[in-house]
Symmetry: C2
Subunit: 182 residues, 2 copies
């Protein structure tokens, strides 16, 4: 940020009164501009004994497999956002959403929220940000071709929970290094 989005004048980094960290502050209209973490919402879409993955048609990680997920938008709930992303990337409608995993990724100011969900009728297509979408059994998962650490961890945990037969308790975890920054 170089200019004030309220008045167009230059901003400076300074610690405002009654604050304890630097913010971009407008030298003209004095507006304080805050920057905060963003929420990434996504699904782990399941159909029978398979999970739905998308092969990325965009950077970063072009050509790698991922769970459908993206930036949460204004005026939606986290589960609405997760379902929207699953439609946009895999043309799948999902139901029975239940929050399964929260990942803090402080290095890039993001919080990931993955919802466990069911693919309605097992139907899906290919959204514009995907090269291909496919249902994978556990044995078929392309572990070496997954896009992000949060995808690896979510899938590992899901198959482990499924094997244990004791449900899918919600998890909270922190990713120290994220694929995008490696």
């Amino acid at each position: 940020m170089k200019f004030c989005s309220a008045c167009g004048h230059e901003v400076q980094l300074q610690i405002p009164d009654n604050d304890d960290r630097e913010r971009h502050v407008c030298g003209h209209c004095k507006t304080i501009h805050y920057s905060n973490p963003k929420v990434i919402v996504g699904c782990l879409p399941v159909w029978e004994d398979k999970v739905l993955l998308c092969k990325r048609a965009i950077e970063p990680r072009y050509g790698k497999w991922t769970l459908p997920a993206g930036f949460m938008e204004n005026r939606e709930t986290t589960s609405q956002g997760a379902a929207r992303e699953t439609w946009e990337e895999a043309r799948a409608k999902v139901s029975n959403l239940s929050l399964y995993y929260l990942f803090d990724v402080p290095a890039i100011d993001q919080v990931y929220l993955f919802y466990l969900s069911e693919v309605e009728k097992g139907e899906f297509g290919i959204g514009p940000e995907s090269l291909e979408c496919r249902l994978f059994t556990e044995a078929e998962i392309p572990w070496q071709e997954l896009a992000f650490p949060v995808v690896v961890e979510t899938l590992k945990t899901y198959f482990s929970d499924r094997a244990s037969g004791t449900g899918f308790p919600m998890r909270v975890d922190t990713v120290i290094r994220h694929g995008k920054r490696e």
Copy 2:
């Protein structure tokens, strides 16, 4: 937003290529400025059979009682943010944080995350954004003087869970109308 934070020229609301909603786009440098929901992190701090509340010294809801919570900052995890806010507002150190409640508040583009936590040694003070901080038993909670619906719901659920003796499972809920907008 009226001006581009990258170059200082005027922005217009328009739907970018390959997008499906209006964004602020700079007519000069073409930067697309996204606006996304913010995360509010907080604690339900417990000591013995009591919970720690703060009487707000700021608007909105000046003089009403609340759980310590505030905007998540960059470069921190959700639980670090929840602990930081508890220190800032109630001068209490908390431990054993466990995610307890996620509230979607789409009307104001916010996601609340409350962590159940223990007040270390039962010690607390009064932060600059609080008029007073106090430990309340269930019978003492000032239900009519609570600041926000998310605070009412979190406390009700906590006492209900405690009475049932079957643990504190994580909840997800949506607030349709939020105190700040009433």
